[in-house]
Structures are given as structure tokens and as C-alpha cells.
Amino acid sequence: MPGLFGESFLDLIGLVLLFPLAGAIVNGLCGKKLSPSIVGFIGCATVGLAFLISILVFLDLLKLSPEHRLFEKEFFTWIGSGSFTAVAGLQVDPLSTVMILVVTGVGFLIHVYSIGYMHGDEGFYRYFTYLNLFTFSMLLLVLANNFLLMFIGWEGVGLCSYLLIGYWFEKKSASSAGKKAFIVNRIGDFGFILAILLIFVTFNTVDFTEVFHSAPKQLTTGSLVATVITLLLFLGATGKSAQIPLYTWLPDAMEGPTPVSALIHAATMVTAGVYMVVRCNVLFVMSPFSLTIVAVIGGATALFAATIGLAQNDIKRVLAYSTVSQIGYMFLACGVGAFVTGIFHLITHAFFKALLFLGSGSVIHALGGEQDMRKMGGLKKYLPTTYKTFLIGTLAIAGIPPFAGFFSKDEILLEAYTKGNLLFWGLGAFAALLTAFYMFRLLFMTFHGKSRMDKHVEEHVHESPMNMLLPLMILAFLSVVGGFLGFPAASAINNFLAPVVGGRGHIGMVNGGETHHVSQNLMFSMMGLSTGIAIVGIMLAYILYCKKPDLPAQIAGRFKFVYNILLNKYYVDEIYDATIVNPTIKSSFFLWRWIDVRIIDGFVNGVARFVELKSEVLRLFQTGFVRNYALSMLLGGIIIIICALFFL
């Protein structure tokens, strides 16, 4: 069959993009007239087809020898000016293949789930248009073979995120959250754009292959240029991937429909920053300083967001902060140079976090839109399938073996210790304790104990339809087995991604020998330790939220100060408002009312008035009719010309 289309399925890579785009166009232009089932079918089928092609591409890529696993296809020159060229070209390599599999695979499940979740919504076609457009943009982001084309996808996913967060735009909180997401992302993009400019000026190209090829030759490790480029890129990553200091948009983004939170704000888009850092690993390893910054920001975010997660009562917000925290782990891994581990956690996180969000969606769906965990409880018996899958997801994120999250998180901690230092490990380990605690707090508050639901809500509680449960089950399955992609350590994913990260993906356990032995000892003791940490967290949650449900309130009362800080998310939003947003608006008013209206216009009007007063005689000519002025100007012009010509 490949013969029909070209040499191999790799040639079909364009179709992976084309299908979701076509879906978006068809649904966008005629979705209003189509029935919802057709709209849903188009939305899902296009992503499903993209997934199938992605698998074929993946299989074809495997047939090549590891060092030849790079396929580029260029379509046309997008921008060319002088020596600057940016092509519309795609790149298939192990990293982009892993990403398209995750994006289309998890994306497909979430599309299917959405049919049930969004059933009956009046903007059904609009929703699927945006969702398909998002898939297209995300695929463009990961498949682009140069920085500038990647930037189209980068901003494209930002746009779709904006549109989907503000999907229920009649709610002011939703439209504000969308706007906030876009603007905060733009602050990151400020860094990204400058990075692209500096990359071009340094390497005279924005093509990935060429840049990464010439970087080691052209720059010395630790040079200022390498550090500036990578820090600017990382600024972009903190915006897109919701890290300190630009994470504040993500919790607000929970205003969007829950499947959107699962797809965009958990599984795919928010991890784009991680993808970008891994893609640019050649540049990052050239700047130890930048790597340290990445690790510190990642570790700090992991812990910081986890502490906020402790005190939140909105089920989706807890998950949002846990996403921020988990992405922090991925950056921590990248920062210590364990790029493959970062991607490994990205994959497992995509499985279990999509599962958790879709599970919470199932809960919210069942409760008619209720998101406050204080009004839930005891849902286990009403939503058995949701509960079981959710439990798997919670175990996975808490890091209990053999669930997926255990392997990836454990590996990050191991890398943080061996390649980084005790501080990085400590940040990660403490965050892991908190994660296990707040996730089980969420689980217990939602599914266990006595029902705290409103009467009329309780009467209507129902398990979700099959098209919502099936994706949950598949994701639950993946959350169980996903970890074996990266286990044991000298594993499939490592070997597969090795060409992209130049063998720098992992500590030296692959080689066997002495290193191998020592590391293995360390590895198993680390595994034991992180499992222990997770169990402690779970036990704490069990005591506080199952055994002694009165205790949390008492503790909160006792440590009111700390509790309020956590409940109010360290007042970061308020601080940003007070120090950046409001002063900007105030000074803008000042610029307008004083500089523009008073000073400049005052001057202009003053000149006009001055001339008026001083020219009593000339007033005869000031008829106020513009045509007279024009006439006199023309006459004046002609007189000047005549004078000039005669006297010169």
C-alpha cells in the first residue's frame, strides 16, 4: 500500500495535519447546518484517522536504523526575505513521533468522550471546530522542522486554548480566564520570539537540524549566547507550560469544558514547553546555567503548586494545580539533563491526568455541573466505573507501583539525585508526599464518606454514558501499563529517543559494568523510598478525610494564617494585579489624559489660539471654511514656486 502514495508511510505525514484541519474547516463552515451526530463523527473520525496514520508512520520509522530515523518533508517556502528563510516543512523523528502518538491517541479518546459530555450544548459544532483546530495546531507544533513554523503551532494552540477556555463566553469569569491565558502566554512568547531572532542572528538559520548541527561547533559550552537563547526559550516554556512565574492562567483555565481541560490543559498543550526544551536539548546542554534555572524553576513549581493544591475545594482546580506541579517535575528532569525521563513523565502524565480530568468531568456531569468537593462525597456507589478508573488515576499520580506515574516520577527523583543534588531530590520528594496527600484527599472527599450533596442534585446522580466511560477505561488501562515503556531503565523509550537527545537522555545504566551495579542498588532503594513517601501521603489523607473528618477543619482553624495563604494561592494573582496590571492601566490613563490631551493637544490648540489673537488683520481670511484655506494654500504654493523659479 505505501507504493500507492510514495516510498513509505512517512510520506503521508502531511495527512496527519490535514485531517484535523479539514475537520475544523468542514465543521466550522457547515457545522451549524449539520446534525450533532455528524459533527461529532467528523470531529472524532478526523483525529482517529490522524492517529492511524501516526501509528503507520511510527512503524515505518522503526524499520529504519536508529541513526537514520529522521525524515523531513518540505512543502513550500513560507517566509523568505534576504538570507532569512522559513519553510513550511515537517520533521518525523522519534521525538515528534512519540508526541503525535500521544496527541492523536489521547486526543481521539477525548474527542469521543466530548460527544457525550457536550451533548445538547448549543455550540456543539463550534466546540468540535475548536477542538479539531487545536489538534491541528498541536500537531504542527510538534512536527514543524523549524522554529518559526513551530511558533505558528505554538500560538495556534494558545488561540484554541483561549477560544475553548472562553467557550461559555457569556460567563464573565470564562471570558476573562481565556483572555488571561492568552496574554500571559504572550508574555512567554515575548521570550520565544526574541529567542528565534537571536537564533537566526547567531546561526543564520531557524531550521532545527541545521541549528542543532552547528550549535556545538559554533558556540562554546557556557557561552553567553547559548545561555541567553535558552533562557529566552525557557521563558516561552514557562508561559505555555504554566511554570513560575507565569502559571497563574492555568487554574483559571478550568472555566473551559472539562474535556478541554483534559486535552489542552493536562495532556497536550501545557506540555509543549517540555517538548520544546527537549527538542532544543542540544542548546540547553550548552548552558549549565540555563539547565540549573530550568531545574530550579521546575522543582520549585512542583512543590509550590502542590502546596496550593492542599487547600483547594474545587475538584478541577486541585487537578489544575497538580498539573502545574507535575509539569514542574518534567522540567526538573530536563534541568538535570534527563530529557528522556522528562518525555517519559509527559507521556504517563498525559494518560493519568487525562483520565483524572475526564473522571472529574464524569463526576461534574453526574452532579449537574457541581465542582465543589464540599458538596460531593459518597459518590462511589453512584458512579462505580468512574470511581474505579479514577482510583487508578489517583494511584498513578501518587506514585504507587506498578502504576504508570510511579515509574516516571521515581525515575525523575533518581535522576534529580544522581545528576543534580540533594536539594532537587528534596523538592521533588516533598512535592511527591504532598501530591499523594492532596490527590487522595480529593478522592476521599469526592467518592468516600457521607454524601454532602444537595437534595435535588442527589436525586439526579447518574453514571455517565458508555461513550464517556470507554475512554476512561482505555486511559485507566494505559495508566496501569504505561509505566513499562520506561521500565526497566534501559528501556524501549530510552533507546527510541536516544538519537534525538544524543544519548544524553539517561544516566549510564545502559552500559552495564560497575556503574550499572551501583546504580541498580541505588535505583531499588530509591524506588522503595518514593513508594514509602507516597504511602505516607495516602495514610495522612486517609486519617484526615476518612477516619477523622473533623480534624482538617480544626487544623485549618489552628493554623489560620497558613491555611488562608494556601486557600488564596499565596495571593499571587492579587500581587500581580497590584504591581503590574493596575499600575499599567493607571499610567495608561495618565499618558492619555495628560500627555495626549493636555500637553500635546494643549500645545496644538495653544498655537492655534495664539495665532488667532495676534492676527486681528488676518482674521479676515480666517473664514473657517476649509476650502478657503485650501485655496489660499494652493495660491501660496504657486506664488512660492513662481518666486523661486524666477529668482534662482
Partner: protein
């Protein structure tokens, strides 16, 4: 001589205006139709310029050169190169759109359409003139109908706005006229020939000190038009008072006269002074980008917001012109076209809701996306184009300008890039307050979605927005030769002057005195 296509395309609107002159003013439909047909005719006539354009030469194409007033050396010399091609096309395109958008004008339709058509000829003429005098004639010709459009068909404060516009532009025009005459004289002294031919002036070697003053004179004329900070305060008033079509033309074409003037006249005629003024202009441009964006953010009137956003966008254009490299200049030219399309479309869209609600105050709206969803889609696309979303037109120009700036001055580029953040702030905040949230104002609850005429107005622009964003190559490739040639010439002449300056500074100082005696 071949078919005088430039003349035909330029004067077709004027011919339409004369035709309308002889038609009874009560036949309103017929007047409108004539105006539309002649403007479309002019647009169709200008299309061969695009398709038959020779990409390989920097020479002017479709040239016509006829002596006009021989005694003074004034000739009807017109032609087009890559730099003016797209501004010419943009003008003839936006004229059709503007006339179609004027269908709802109720008063003095005959006079209105005549003004529009005369305006079109004036603007087209400016972009093709290769004779300084001819250029000045067209420059003035287009101003008069613009005054009338604002002063007669404008809003309540139209007289104030017109006079302000008039004072500003006249101040610039007079200085420019003086400068033109001075160049003419300089040329006469050097060559003994009376001529206003621009191409001959390009060869002129103007002494350093003289360049300074002449540059400054042109600078005022053009900077007011652009408008650069702090010469911009006529713009918000003119926009607010102007009828929709007036705003479209004003933002879409008239502002480009200033930036075009810098490229066509200031750079090649005064390369040395241009280089000397770089820090000054770059800072004004940067202030314009940031100041315009900040002030736009707090506007309560939609048209004022868009007007201030123009100050910000044109700051990018100015920045790109004065970095003297290919990406900067090509980005600037592209950005001129992009701004014409995006901002033109924004004014059209605001005009549409103004016609329905007779208000432009942001506070009067909210939740319109529910009431008029198709309008909302168009508004969203144009808004995104204006904030430079990659994949749409605005990004390509903005990025090239930033790249060109970065190559010459990293700090300037960094400041300019903040414009990317700020534009998202003011545009999306505006969009939210107008289109999103609850549809609470009762008066908005029976607004009609866009009609077929409005589709015809906005759809072509949106198609261009996508086209330029996705495949700008046909445009950029047509710019290449001319821009390269211009930059080479400016560079050579700059170096010549620079050498002279260093060689005999004292002699030059003496010479300078003589010129003014």
C-alpha cells in the same frame, strides 16, 4: 509607447467623478453604481501591474514620461516598482471596499461620491509619481476631498477635527514644498537643468549640512502623516469624526503616504541625514509602539482605540524602515499593506455595528457574539490579524521588522517586542467587552447579523489576511529587487558622504555656507 495602464488606472476614478458631476443628484442609485463601477474598474486595471510585474529588475516599470510644464522642467513622469506596487494595489482595492461601505450614506450622495473618487485618483497618483512636483500636486489633491469627507459627512465634532487635521497636514505640506524647491535649486546649480524628476535627483550629491535641513523638512511632512509620536493627536479626532469609509481610507492608505514618503524620498535623497537621524527616529518609533498601545488600552470609544493602535503599528513600520536592512524594509512594506487590510477591516466592522446601534462606546456593548455570531467570527479573525497571530498576515510583517531591527539593535528589538504583548492586551480586552459576557443591554438584543453587502465588503479582506499570512512569497518576491537596489544605493551614497566628511571636514563646512548664500 505601450498602453498607459498606470494613467488609466489612476484617472479612471476621476473620470467617474466627472461623469457623476453631470448626473442629477436625485438619481442616487445611479450615482452609487457609477462610483462603484469606476472604482472596480480602476482595481481591475491595476491587477495587470501585479501579474505582469517583472521580478528581476529594480527599474521602474509601466513608466510614462511626458513633459508637462517644460519651462520649469516639470514632467508627467509616472512608474511603479516593488515598493509602490502593493500600496497602489491596496489603494485601488480599498477604494472599492470603501465605496461599497458608503452605500448607507444618506446626505449629499453626489458630492460624497465625487469626493471619494477624486480622493482615489489623488492617492493613486501619489504612489506612481516620479516627479517631485507631480507628487506634490497629487499629495495636495488627495487632502482636499479628505477634509471634505470629515468636515461634511463627519460626526458632531467634525469641524474641530477637520481644522486640526488641516493645521497639522498643512504645516507638513508647506515644509515639504519648500524642501522640494530647495532640491530643485540644488540640482539646477549642479547640473544647470531645470527639473523635478525624482530619478535625476537620486544622483544628486547633497552636502551633509543641507541634507540635515532638507531631511528635517520632509520628516515633518511625513512624520505627521504616519503619524509618529508626538505628531499623532490629529488622528484619533479625525478617525472618530470621519464616516466609516473615511476612516478606512485614512487608516488604510493615507497613513502609508508618510511611511512611503520616507522610503521613496528621505532615504535615497538624504542617505547621510537618514543615518544620522536613526537614533532619534528609532526612539520615536519605539515610544509610538508602546505609548500607542498603552493609550489604546484605556480608550472608551472603539474608533479611538483603533486609531491609537495604528500609532503603535505604524511605529513598527517606521522602525523597520530605519534599520537599513532587507528584512526590516521588506517587513515594513508588508506591514503597511497588512495594517491597511487589518485596520481597514476593523473600521469597517466598527462601522457596521455603529450603523445598527449609533454608538461606538465599548461600554454600550457586551455579549454581541451571541446575537451576531457571523460578525463575531469576522471580528475575531481581524482582531487576531491585528495582534499578529502567526498564520495570519500581521505576523509576517511584524516578524520581519523585528528581525531586521534585531540585526541592527538588540535593545530596540527587545523594546519593540513588548508591543506583541501589549497588542494582545488592548485588542482582547476590547473584544471581550464588546463580544463576550452577557448580552445585557436591551438595545443590542435585536441587532441583525451581517447582510450580503457586508459579506462582500469583509470577505475579500479576510481572504487576503489568510493569503498573506500563509503564503506571502508572491508579495515578498516582488519587493526583493527594488528593496535591494534601494538599500545598496543608500549604503553607497552614505559611504561616499561619510568619506567626504572625514576627508575634508573644513572644506565641507565652507561649502555648506555657500549653499545657503
Amino acid at each position: 509607447m505601450s498602453f498607459p495602464i498606470l494613467t488609466v488606472a489612476t484617472f479612471l476614478p476621476l473620470a467617474g467623478a466627472i461623469w457623476i458631476l453631470f448626473i442629477d443628484k436625485k438619481k442616487e442609485e445611479k450615482i452609487k453604481q457609477i462610483a462603484l463601477v469606476t472604482s472596480i474598474g480602476a482595481f481591475i486595471m491595476s491587477l495587470p501591474l501585479y501579474f505582469n510585474f517583472n521580478l528581476t529588475t529594480h527599474e521602474f516599470q509601466f513608466v510614462e514620461n511626458i513633459p508637462w510644464i517644460k519651462e520649469f522642467g516639470i514632467s508627467y513622469h509616472v512608474g511603479i516598482d516593488g515598493i509602490s506596487l502593493f500600496l497602489f494595489l491596496l489603494t485601488s482595492f480599498l477604494t472599492c471596499i470603501a465605496i461599497l461601505a458608503s452605500w448607507t450614506i444618506k446626505e449629499r450622495i453626489k458630492e460624497y461620491m465625487i469626493s471619494m473618487l477624486v480622493l482615489a485618483t489623488g492617492m493613486l497618483g501619489v504612489f506612481i509619481s516620479l516627479d517631485l512636483f507631480l507628487f506634490y500636486v497629487f499629495w495636495e489633491l488627495m487632502l482636499i476631498p479628505m477634509y471634505l469627507l470629515i468636515g461634511v459627512w463627519g460626526g458632531p465634532r467634525r469641524i474641530y477635527a477637520t481644522i486640526k487635521f488641516f493645521i497639522y497636514t498643512m504645516a507638513g505640506s508647506v515644509l515639504m514644498l519648500l524642501a522640494i524647491l530647495a532640491i530643485h535649486t540644488l540640482n539646477y546649480k549642479e547640473t544647470g537643468e531645470h527639473t523635478f524628476d525624482l530619478l535625476k535627483m537620486y544622483d544628486l550629491d547633497i552636502p551633509m549640512g543641507t541634507q540635515f535641513w532638507l531631511f528635517l523638512a520632509f520628516f515633518f511632512a511625513f512624520a505627521i502623516k504616519v503619524p509618529m509620536f508626538p505628531f499623532h493627536t490629529w488622528l484619533p479626532d479625525a478617525h472618530v469624526e470621519a464616516p466609516t469609509a473615511g476612516s478606512v481610507i485614512l487608516a488604510g492608505v493615507l497613513l502609508k503616504m508618510g511611511t512611503y514618503g520616507f522610503i521613496r524620498f528621505s532615504l535615497p535623497l538624504f542617505p547621510y541625514a537618514s543615518h544620522q537621524f536613526v537614533p532619534f527616529i528609532a526612539w520615536l518609533a519605539l515610544i509610538g509602539i508602546i505609548y500607542g498601545a498603552l493609550v489604546a488600552m484605556v480608550q472608551e470609544d472603539l474608533k479611538k482605540l483603533i486609531a491609537y493602535s495604528s500609532v503603535s503599528h505604524l511605529g513598527f513600520v517606521m522602525l523597520g524602515i530605519f534599520v537599513f536592512n532587507i528584512q526590516g524594509l521588506e517587513g515594513s512594506i508588508l506591514q503597511m499593506v497588512n495594517h491597511g487590510l487589518s485596520t481597514g477591516a476593523l473600521f469597517l466592522l466598527v462601522g457596521m455595528i455603529y450603523e445598527r446601534r449609533h454608538t461606538r462606546m465599548i461600554a454600550d456593548f457586551g455579549g454581541l457574539a451571541k446575537q451576531i455570531p457571523i460578525f463575531a467570527v469576522f471580528f475575531m479573525i481581524v482582531t487576531l490579524s491585528s495582534i499578529g497571530l502567526p498564520g495570519l498576515n500581521g505576523f509576517v510583517g511584524e516578524f520581519l521588522v523585528l528581525l531586521g531591527t534585531f540585526k541592527s539593535n538588540v535593545l530596540n528589538a527587545t523594546f519593540a517586542t513588548t508591543g506583541v504583548v501589549l497588542s494582545a492586551c488592548y485588542m482582547l480586552w476590547m473584544f471581550q467587552r464588546v463580544m463576550f459576557n452577557k448580552l445585557s443591554n436591551k438595545k443590542n438584543q435585536n441587532m441583525a447579523d451581517i447582510n450580503s453587502r457586508e459579506w462582500a465588503i469583509i470577505l475579500p479582506i479576510v481572504i487576503l489576511i489568510f493569503w498573506i499570512g500563509i503564503y506571502p512569497k508572491p508579495i515578498i518576491s516582488r519587493l526583493d529587487s527594488s528593496v535591494n537596489h534601494l538599500l545598496t544605493r543608500v549604503d553607497e551614497k552614505y559611504k561616499t558622504t561619510l568619506n567626504k566628511v572625514t576627508k575634508d571636514k573644513e572644506k565641507l563646512a565652507l561649502k555648506e555656507d555657500n549653499v545657503w548664500k
